[in-house]
């Protein structure tokens, strides 16, 4: 199936490199808009509703149906707030950090196959190194966190930045090692091929064909990946970089107005990006019965989002020393064991 830029290029009245660039820009704007809409729905509205449901409260319900217009109200409110620039901030770094956090997470969606709806294939690009690329984009947000922590000239921000580094370093390696254990089955880093490899029937139970989604083939790797992903996106039990009850708000303490919006936005896009990686690697990407692929893809990333919100409400935060021990002594060893066992089983059995 043709990718989104190619489909758009087909209806453009001109050809050549110019058409490639224009078609790519239109396609990129569509993908960007879809993900920002998801984030706008998740950040000011769905998160409050979900948290309220977990804690037995009624959240935003005054403005619009189900309080949905709170999204517009919050956007206007936050963008028109005064931007307070604290004394002694490291100016270029302090301004760049929110930009990096927001853009790099969005950039990760360039290689994610989001499935098709009414004949339009929501997939921007499919390079051969897709999986390596998406891991690279996903981990670039740490740079923004460190810049924000250091440049703010605030002790809480600095501690939050340090914690963010320690956490991302400890969980990056288990995340990638369990991610590549999937590649041993799929034999490729191309995202569309990884999805295609999961469509074969694994076994049939009572007439229902169970597809060989890697979450079913290797549930151990799936669990490890989901836990490491929680740390990667900085949600409970691994939210110590922010830790509102300990260090105010960590690296985002000194950010107000539009910069706060960008950091907040970046975090939510990052959660969705984590969900997209989980869906692509372990849950068959956009595959599913009856409904169009794009709808299934959205259901899967929202399911992962709901899981992170459940963890946020239900699981207590770990301490920094526990975090390091779980990461380096537990997750890393288990990730190595998973990779080794997968390689042996693939070599001996298949």
């Amino acid at each position: 199936m043709q990718l989104l830029p190619e489909q758009i290029m087909g209806i453009l009245p001109f050809g050549g490199v110019g058409a490639e660039v224009v078609a790519s820009l239109i396609a990129a704007a569509i993908i960007g808009t879809i993900m920002l809409t998801n984030t706008a729905l998740a950040g000011p509205w769905a998160k409050r509703k979900i948290t309220a449901a977990f804690t037995d409260r009624i959240a935003v319900n005054r403005i619009g149906p189900f309080g949905l217009l709170i999204i517009v109200a919050d956007a206007v409110r936050l963008l028109s707030k005064e931007l307070i620039v604290p004394e002694g901030v490291d100016r270029p770094a302090w301004d760049l950090a929110p930009l990096i956090i927001a853009s790099t997470a969005l950039l990760g969606f360039s290689v994610i196959p989001m499935g098709s709806i009414v004949g339009i294939n929501m997939h921007l690009a499919d390079p051969e190194a897709g999986l390596a690329l998406v891991f690279a984009f996903a981990s670039m947000a740490s740079v923004g966190l460190v810049m924000a922590g250091y440049a703010s000239n605030n002790k809480f921000s600095f501690l939050g930045g340090l914690r963010a580094v320690a956490q991302n370093l400890a969980y990056e390696i288990p995340l990638i090692l369990t991610g590549v254990s999937v590649v041993i089955f799929a034999e490729t880093l191309q995202m569309s091929e990884i999805v295609a490899a999961q469509q074969e029937t694994l076994f049939t139970v009572a007439g229902i064909a169970v597809p060989s989604w890697y979450a079913i083939v290797n549930p151990f790797a799936f669990v490890l990946f989901v836990i490491a992903n929680l740390a990667e996106v900085g949600r409970n039990p691994f939210d110590i970089p922010e830790a509102p009850t300990e260090i105010v708000a960590g690296y985002q303490t000194e950010y107000s107005s539009v910069y706060f919006v960008l950091i907040y936005l970046g975090e939510f896009i990052h959660i969705f990006l984590g969900g997209a990686i989980i869906a692509t690697l372990f849950l068959g990407g956009p595959a599913g019965p009856a409904l169009p692929g794009f709808i299934w893809f959205m259901i899967k990333i929202w399911a992962v989002f709901l899981f992170t919100q459940w963890a946020r409400s239900a699981v207590p935060r770990v301490r920094i020393d526990q975090l390091i021990e779980i990461g380096w002594k537990g997750m890393l060893v288990l990730a190595f064991a998973n990779l080794f066992l997968t390689a042996v089983i693939v070599g001996v059995v298949l």
Binding site: T104, S152, V183, T188, W328, V348
Partner: protein
């Protein structure tokens, strides 16, 4: 066929243009009334003391970063191996496809065990923080 790197570059442009346009819109809307006390960095309502950049932090942050460099390079080297592994079994046999990688990971696991034994992944508590501790630690 559209070059995938042009498409990724296009998303990079979009991903920068959207936040920047938000900043521009916000700069047109928002007031700017800087005051000395407002611009002070937040320190729980107290007057900020000392520099935030000269803060002394736990050595452990440095230790885990050092350990990370080794393992990160290792994951980069594992990537191509996982792609060719299944083909390599057919061509050169299981032992020659898996053996070198087991040796390579084995060396790193020995390294991790050494770091573990020497307390590089153990959280070091500063003696001063221990003296200041008022709660009874069990």
């Amino acid at each position: 066929m559209v070059n995938p790197w042009i498409a990724i570059g296009a998303l990079a442009v979009v991903a920068v243009v959207i936040p920047v346009s938000m900043m521009v819109v916000s700069s047109l809307l928002r007031p700017s009334v800087p005051e000395t006390s407002k611009r002070a960095t937040y320190e729980s309502g107290e007057v900020p003391t000392g520099s935030s950049r000269a803060i002394r932090f736990n050595i452990q942050y440095y230790m885990v970063a050092l350990l990370f460099v080794v393992f990160d390079i290792e994951t980069v080297l594992i990537f191509p191996w996982t792609v060719v592994y299944d083909d390599a079994i057919d061509k050169v046999g299981l032992f020659r496809a898996l053996g070198p990688m087991v040796l390579f990971i084995g060396i790193l696991v020995v390294g991790l065990a050494w770091a573990w034994r020497n307390g590089a992944v153990e959280w070091v508590r500063s003696p001063r923080a221990d003296r200041q501790r008022t709660e009874q630690q069990t």
